[in-house]
């Protein structure tokens, strides 16, 4: 059973001594100055690509995901196999790779995370309040009523 793994990708220089490595992507010798090492194999920089978006994994980041005999980048791995949910503000689906904001049990699109009365987004350090499962900025929350509703500190 192939489990999902985060693999490391490392850039290694070509060793002058020793036999030249064979790329696992094209089965040719690697004559470049640098090559990638991942999954206990060696690759041309051009050969280690995401199966989904075709990005060069050496450029994108240092982790590689493998699943179902596929080599994927982080984003595509989540796109294909991640869990999706619904935004608590707009009720639309949130793809697995997208950045989200969380508040207690609710999840929001990054764009949806704004005061639901005045539509102002928050800055780092701003306080936001949850009232009736609605996100409110400080002004709107205090403008409503002064009850001791649950208030969460943002960021």
């Amino acid at each position: 059973m192939v489990f999902d793994k985060e693999e490391s990708v490392s850039l290694v220089p070509l060793q002058s001594k020793g036999k030249p490595r064979v790329c696992a992507g094209c089965n040719r010798r690697i004559m470049d100055r640098f090559m990638l090492q991942a999954l206990d194999r060696y690759w041309h920089e051009d050969c280690l690509k995401c199966a989904c978006c075709d990005c060069r994994l050496g450029d994108v980041g240092s982790t590689l995901y493998t699943r179902a005999n596929l080599i994927l980048c982080h984003k595509d791995y989540l796109r294909l196999f991640g869990m999706t949910g619904n935004c608590a503000a707009c009720s639309k689906v949130i793809p697995a790779f997208e950045m989200v904001m969380r508040a207690r049990e609710n999840v929001y699109h990054l764009d949806c995370f704004a005061c639901q009365l005045c539509s102002q987004r928050f800055c780092v350090g701003d306080k936001f309040f949850l009232k009736n499962n609605m996100i409110l900025c400080q002004l709107d929350y205090e403008g409503g009523h002064q009850n001791g509703n649950s208030a969460d500190q943002a960021l």
């Binding site: 989904c52 595509d76 989540l78 991640g82 999706t84 949130i94 508040a103």
Partner: protein, 355 residues
């Protein structure tokens, strides 16, 4: 035929006087005056009396006028014969020398009758009545062509003096002179056939309307298609994500992605059917029940090794993170099952394994 002209301020008022005269000669004058009047009224009579004007214009097909003539005609309002001559004989088209041959020229064959015929001609072609001859004084009658003769009327529209008339046409651009009496000879754009139609009152107005409607409908359709392409573009994984793709590329990459997903789905089912070692003993028996259960088993299979990572719940730290955290690495199911359920089944599997 003798419609009331709306006297234009200043320039046209003398003409207006002429027009109202019931004299026979003034009939032509009125027509001429109308022609000039239309030249002067910068599109003011777009709707009202437009039909009347067009009717008039239809009957004055062959007149040759240009701005200078008109101008002269206006200033010499008293000598309305000359005015007639200047205005009635020929109507020039917009461009200097860009006159259109009109069938009305055939009317000149009746030159013996000394009938003042109105026609559109190129300048080299001499009419029996030269346009600028101020001395003709014989009775003139405007040769009325058949009403269907709209082409000269159209040509009139684009004569220099009639430039402001073009404002009636929505399709016409706005490079017109302000003063109808000093029309420019520099019409910059050759009018398209559908634009030459003036408001005859009969069939041309709907044509313009239809054309405009067709244009905007086509534009709406194009925007619809472009919107659909944009929506499809959002679903295609690329690197970088905002890379510009042509329509062709969008379609081809979409095909590629669909095939990739279909193949992935087949492979996933294949993996499950092949069976896994260890706890999922009943995997093969579940095959018949369909895909949903297949996914469930995949889920169970995946959960066992990563059970430990499922323990942590999400806490509201408020910072943006990927929707699926590390604990979701093993979750292959696309069904929105709750984490509790995953946890539970994971435990269940573990128990089975331990037996």
């Amino acid at each position: 035929m003798m419609e009331k002209l709306k006297p234009e301020v200043g320039q046209l008022s003398p003409m207006g006087k002429e027009c109202k005269s019931p004299h026979h000669d003034s009939m032509t004058t009125s027509i001429a005056g109308r022609v000039s009047g239309e030249g002067c009224e910068a599109g003011g009579e777009t709707q009202e009396a437009a039909s009347a004007n067009s009717a008039e214009r239809d009957r004055v097909p062959g007149e040759r006028c240009n701005g200078t003539i008109l101008f002269n005609a206006v200033t010499k309002e008293t000598a309305y014969h000359s005015e007639q001559k200047k205005e009635v004989p020929v109507i020039e088209l917009a461009r200097r020398g860009g006159l259109v041959d009109i069938k009305a020229r055939e009317l000149t064959a009746d030159g013996n009758h000394r009938i003042q015929t109105t026609e559109l001609c190129r300048p080299p072609i001499q009419l029996p009545l030269p346009s600028r001859d101020p001395l003709l004084s014989e009775t003139r009658m405007v040769q009325l062509s058949q009403p269907g003769f709209s082409l000269p009327a159209r040509a009139m529209l684009y004569s220099n003096f009639a430039q402001p008339l073009a404002t009636m046409n929505s399709g016409y651009g706005g490079e017109m002179e302000q003063y109808g009496m000093y029309p420019s000879h520099r019409i910059k754009r050759r009018p398209a056939p559908y634009e030459i139609e003036i408001n005859d009152g009969n069939g041309s107005q709907p044509k313009i309307v239809r054309r405009i409607f067709t244009n905007s409908r086509e534009r709406w359709r194009q925007q619809n298609v472009n919107g659909a392409f944009a929506d499809l573009r959002q679903l295609i994984p690329t690197h970088p994500p905002d890379k510009k793709l042509s329509k062709n590329e969008i379609l081809r990459l979409a095909m590629k992605y669909i095939n990739f997903l279909a193949k992935l789905l087949d492979d996933q089912e294949g993996v499950l059917e092949a069976g896994d070692s260890g706890g999922i003993v009943g995997a093969r028996t579940h095959e018949a029940r369909g895909e949903g259960l297949v996914r469930e088993e995949l889920l169970q299979g995946m959960l066992s090794p990563s059970n430990s990572s499922c323990g942590s719940l999400l806490d509201g730290d408020g910072s943006p993170d990927s929707y699926t955290d590390d604990q979701d690495l093993s979750i292959g199911s696309r069904r929105p099952t709750s984490r509790g359920l995953h946890h539970h089944s994971g435990l269940h599997i573990d128990e089975q394994n331990q037996r």
